[in-house]
């Protein structure tokens, strides 16, 4: 187990091109030993490249990788002692389940009795103990993925387990149990887990720390709460949360007052550059409240639609030419035409050039 440090890492798949496209733009990141991380971002944002750089399947074109104090940038994969689970199950079809699970230990020449003990222990965790003597080929997709996962878990000394959307092929109920199991394993063995996903719910429920990536850059790293309450960029605001954050182009009238169309709102941000033409206000639909009469920071909107989701109601309304979505308690009666919505100042995020002020 080790702390993993990426120092000024950048990667392009075409290092000789005159104007190379970077799959990963220069960044420095460190992953604490024993941490539980989620790497979140849309497809093609560089998540898998980052994992492959850590496992050594890809050599970064720039920068260095350290495990604790040891530099491993040019070290080959098998010497890094890392486990990686891919999106689709990878099994050794000609071997039995036992041989599959034992393979990483056999390659590293562990003694037979230790292999046997460890394989049985992991098989028990993953509910595979009844299949140990079956050919891996004949199992179902989710059992195969459990084997892939198991091969990562048999080695206690791995620097980290990297998982690239590992639960895609697994049905929702088992997915939930497996995520819990992964958490337990992390608690028990203190193995660093890095979990790549494009599903925000998966990331939010699994990880202590979430790293959001977009177009080869880390746009925000923090706890689920940080990401939800203070998205550092409009991308994070839009990407995290369902529905996405309400975002409006606005202009500043003073240091902490902005206007959207004909409405003006107090905010807690300090806007220094009032003249900026690229200011946006963002607010989560969860923080918008329905009021009976006008107060500070309220606006009147025309109700378009009220959807009842069982545990909450989602109100979609329009003001000026903007749309606004508010998540409210389902007991609340929503007027059918006009509604007064309040945007609390403490929850209004102001973005200049799409970055939080």
């Amino acid at each position: 187990m080790a702390k993993i440090i990426l120092e000024n890492i950048a990667h392009t798949y075409e290092p000789n091109a005159s104007n190379p496209i970077f799959a990963l733009k220069e960044m420095s990141l460190s992953w604490a030993d024993g941490g539980r991380y989620a790497l979140l971002g849309p497809s093609g944002c560089g998540k898998t490249t980052m994992l492959n750089i850590m496992s050594g399947l890809v050599n970064p074109s720039h920068g260095k990788v350290f495990f604790d104090e040891r530099e491993v940038t040019s070290m080959i994969t098998e010497e890094r002692n890392i486990a990686q689970v891919f999106q689709f199950p990878v099994i050794y079809g000609t071997m039995t389940v036992f041989e599959n699970l034992a393979f990483p230990l056999k390659c590293r020449q562990f003694p037979e009795d230790q292999i046997e003990r460890k394989v049985k222990e992991v098989a028990e965790i993953l509910n595979l103990q009844d299949y140990l003597n079956n050919r891996a080929k004949g199992l179902t997709a989710d059992q195969k993925q459990l084997i892939s996962l198991g091969r990562g878990l048999v080695r206690e000394d791995v620097a980290a387990i990297l998982m690239d959307e590992p639960l895609t092929v697994i049905d929702p109920d088992l997915k939930f149990r497996l995520r819990r199991k992964l958490k337990e394993i992390n608690d028990k063995y203190k193995t660093t887990l890095i979990y790549v996903t494009h599903d925000q719910n998966e990331a939010m429920t699994f990880a202590d720390n979430i790293i959001v990536m977009d177009q080869g850059e880390v746009v925000q790293a923090g706890s689920p709460k940080d990401l939800f309450e203070r998205p550092q960029t409009t991308f994070v605001g839009y990407f995290i949360g369902s529905p996405a954050m309400n975002l409006y182009e606005c202009s500043a009238s003073s240091k902490n007052e902005i206007s959207i169309g004909s409405n003006s709102f107090k905010v807690q941000a300090n806007i220094n550059n009032y003249n900026s033409e690229n200011l946006k206000l963002g607010i989560r639909s969860e923080y918008i409240t329905v009021e009976n009469e006008h107060t500070d920071n309220s606006l009147e909107a025309d109700v378009i639609e009220v959807e009842d989701f069982g545990n909450y109601k989602l109100v979609t309304a329009s003001f000026d030419s903007f749309r606004i979505k508010a998540k409210v308690k389902r007991e609340l009666d929503i007027p059918s035409e006009k509604v007064i919505l309040k945007l609390p100042a403490e929850h209004c995020c102001i973005y200049e050039d799409n970055k939080l002020i």
């Binding site: 098998e78 050794y92 590293r108 892939s148």
Partner: protein, 282 residues
């Protein structure tokens, strides 16, 4: 509708089976005929329409001094040359194909696909174009009219088939399998031999089947590159022909020569029907 479909399916299968079996039945019955039964109009049923004889078959095994051609020597030559050349082609071809599938090669404008195409292009040329270079090449090595020379030439002819089939096969084997093996602690060689190769047996069987077929049926190079010391089966069979075509012994020879391919096809077919080879063939 399903009934009609079933009927049509069986109808065409039966017709196709007749097409395939008819020449064999014809060859089997002819091989037991003598001169008069062959030239005196069509006959089909032994003992009723013609008197079966073993003359056609015995010619194949009698020595030349007794008017036979003795195919036993050439038969084993053919088996030896075909199997050796196929085996070497599969081993070299599999290694080459794995490298072409997994690693990136670049020399100027030449890239992996061009190298693969170069291998396949060896089969595009008409064999006659290669005959003179091969002849000069073998004669300079002193390998004309020898088994070793034939094996060398057949490797050149068969390896493109092996490379072609195996590149396609490896391209279908997910790269993640190799990567997982590396992560699990193998070096690239171990990853190939311990993990990729055991999964590639189906592809190698198909490639082997094609190599054996193409090696076994070659007449052209066996004819040009051998004279008296070494002879392969196809050349020997053609030598049967004379001013009066001996249909009976030609038929017997054809049956004897096609037998090993049928046996090989039956062995490989068992793997085919298990679905193991679907990836290798589709």
């Amino acid at each position: 509708m399903p009934k009609l479909y079933t009927f049509l399916k069986y109808f065409f299968v039966v017709i196709w089976a007749c097409f395939v079996i008819a020449p064999f039945l014809w060859a089997i019955s002819t091989s037991f005929k003598d001169f008069n039964s062959v030239t005196g109009g069509a006959t089909y049923i032994p003992w009723l329409q013609f008197e079966p004889t073993l003359d056609g078959w015995s010619v194949l095994f009698k020595p030349g001094s007794q008017g036979g051609i003795n195919i036993i020597g050439p038969y084993f030559n053919s088996i030896f040359v075909t199997l050796t050349a196929s085996l070497i082609s599969i081993v070299l071809g599999t290694l080459a194909a794995y490298a072409l599938s997994r690693y990136t090669f670049k020399a100027g404008i030449v890239k992996n696909n061009d190298i693969t195409f170069f291998f396949i292009s060896q089969r595009i040329m008409p064999p006659v174009v290669l005959s003179i270079p091969f002849f000069i090449f073998l004669s300079s090595l002193g390998l004309l009219d020898s088994l070793a020379g034939l094996i060398l030439v057949y490797i050149v002819l068969l390896m493109p088939i092996a490379v072609w089939i195996m590149v396609d096969f490896f391209n279908r084997v997910p790269r993640e399998i190799d990567e997982t093996a590396l992560i699990d602690g193998c070096n690239p060689f171990q990853a190939f031999f311990k993990v990729v190769l055991p999964n590639s047996v189906p592809g190698m069987l198909v490639a082997g089947l094609f190599c054996i077929i193409f090696g076994w049926i070659d007449f052209f190079f066996a004819f040009i590159l051998t004279f008296t010391k070494v002879q392969l089966l196809p050349v020997k069979i053609v030598a049967l022909n004379s001013s009066i075509t001996p249909w009976w012994s030609l038929s017997a020879a054809a049956l004897v020569s096609v037998a090993p391919l049928i046996i090989v096809a039956f062995i490989v077919e068992r793997y085919l029907s298990k679905g193991n080879l679907s990836g290798a063939l589709k």
